[in-house]
């Protein structure tokens, strides 16, 4: 009898506890105002630098060079698209070419390593062969080698 009573008690406590507390998974969405405001403050802190940049980008250059971007809020109609126009079309190096260059770098440097890695991973996972462990350790260990290591010899290599 006492055992069942104790069990009932725990069950009741469990129910009340879950109701009171909030947390992961199914309890999501029950955040108190404290949690919400902390997240809000963090998000604002994280956004301020980017927003500052955005506002600076639509201000006239003399205004941007003499007053802080926050002064823009006093006169929000004073905006210009001249900066964007200049960057995209004007000057000796219009940005259009930069986009193309970025794409030529980004696409192969994403696809090729994934392809090579997929084949290597397949071999490591499904095939047994001599030197498997040693090779694997070499690959994993070399993950941390800094990029700078490759800069000097490779520039020489490509130069020749």
């Amino acid at each position: 009898m006492t055992v069942t009573a104790a069990k009932d008690k725990t069950a009741v406590r469990a129910v009340t506890q879950t109701k009171k507390t909030r947390g992961v998974g199914e309890n999501a969405g029950k955040a108190g105002w404290l949690v919400e405001s902390v997240v809000l403050i963090l998000c604002l802190l994280w956004l301020v630098p980017t927003v500052g940049l955005l506002i600076t980008s639509i201000r006239h250059s003399d205004a941007a060079n003499s007053t802080g971007w926050w002064t823009w809020f006093a006169n929000p109609l004073d905006i210009t698209m001249q900066n964007y126009k200049g960057v995209l079309t004007g000057g000796p190096n219009p940005m259009g070419l930069a986009f193309v260059n970025s794409l030529t770098v980004a696409v192969p440097s994403t696809v090729i390593p994934i392809l090579i890695a997929a084949f290597a991973a397949y071999a490591f996972t499904f095939m047994e062969f001599r030197g498997r462990d040693v090779l694997f350790i070499v690959v994993v260990g070399l993950l941390v080698v800094p990029n700078q290591v490759a800069m000097v010899p490779l520039s020489v290599l490509f130069h020749n």
């Binding site: 947390g23 969405g29 630098p49 980017t50 498997r132 260990g141 941390v144």
Partner: protein
Amino acid sequence: MLVFWLLNKLVEMLPSKWETRVKPYAFLLPAVAAIGTFLIYPAVTTIYASLLNDDSTVFVGLKNYIHLFGDDTFLSALINNLLWIVIVPATVVAFGLLIAMLADRLGATKEKLAKSVIFLPMAISLVGASTIWRFIYAYMPDKNHQIGLMNGIVVALGGEPQAWLQMTTLRFNTLLLMVAYIWTQVGYAMVLLSAAIKSVPEDTIEAGRIDGASEVAVFFRIIVPQAWPTVITVFITVLIGVMKVFDIVYAMTNGNFDTDVIGNAFFNAMYFSADCGTASAIVVILMIAIVPIMVYQVRQFRAQEQNG
């Protein structure tokens, strides 16, 4: 793709006994070749070049290293790197955990929104981030024409504007550079940690609560231990990134005012002083510093292999 197809065909033409033996190597060949050319070959050449003089013509032994360790600016760069290592990964993981945990308690829409905002800086290149933060730290001698947010606040509160990035006291400017780096990295930590927190089994948390554990205890003694492997992964990844840190320092101060780090010291030795020997020696020092992480990483992988 074509290369693999050809390799595969070639191997299949071999007698079947040989086919199974050779196939794994054929699959690994491109990866090993790539690692060979882009990592091992350069590493060996770099070690060799570090023993040569500035244009790699005369063998000078350990002279480059002796010179470096007698150089105050390089020692200062080492101290800065150490500070970066001590402060940045831990802070990134702490912020990542905090935001992942708090955002997890919001409703689905709010959670997505909050996470997107925190993740946003990840999409900005480090040079871009440097530009953004240079705006924040910007300094104008004329008190009433501040364009930097930090000086704007200081002046609004009645203070004098400061040249933040030149404040060497307690290496305050290095701390400011770290803030910019942390700002970009927390999003990455948060995404991975959030996934780890969500995969913590609900019943273990429930069990903890039934036993009367406080929310803080549930977090530190149930959620964090189960998400620990992810915490370690994030920590190591950020740590490796921090050891190689270059862009932020280069774009914001170029290592002036005592903010130099190994990555930037290398760049200046290589392209500014055109001293191949010293540059290589700096890289070798960096490689040696990274060896413990390498060992740890290999051990971690081995442990995972055995478990899985």
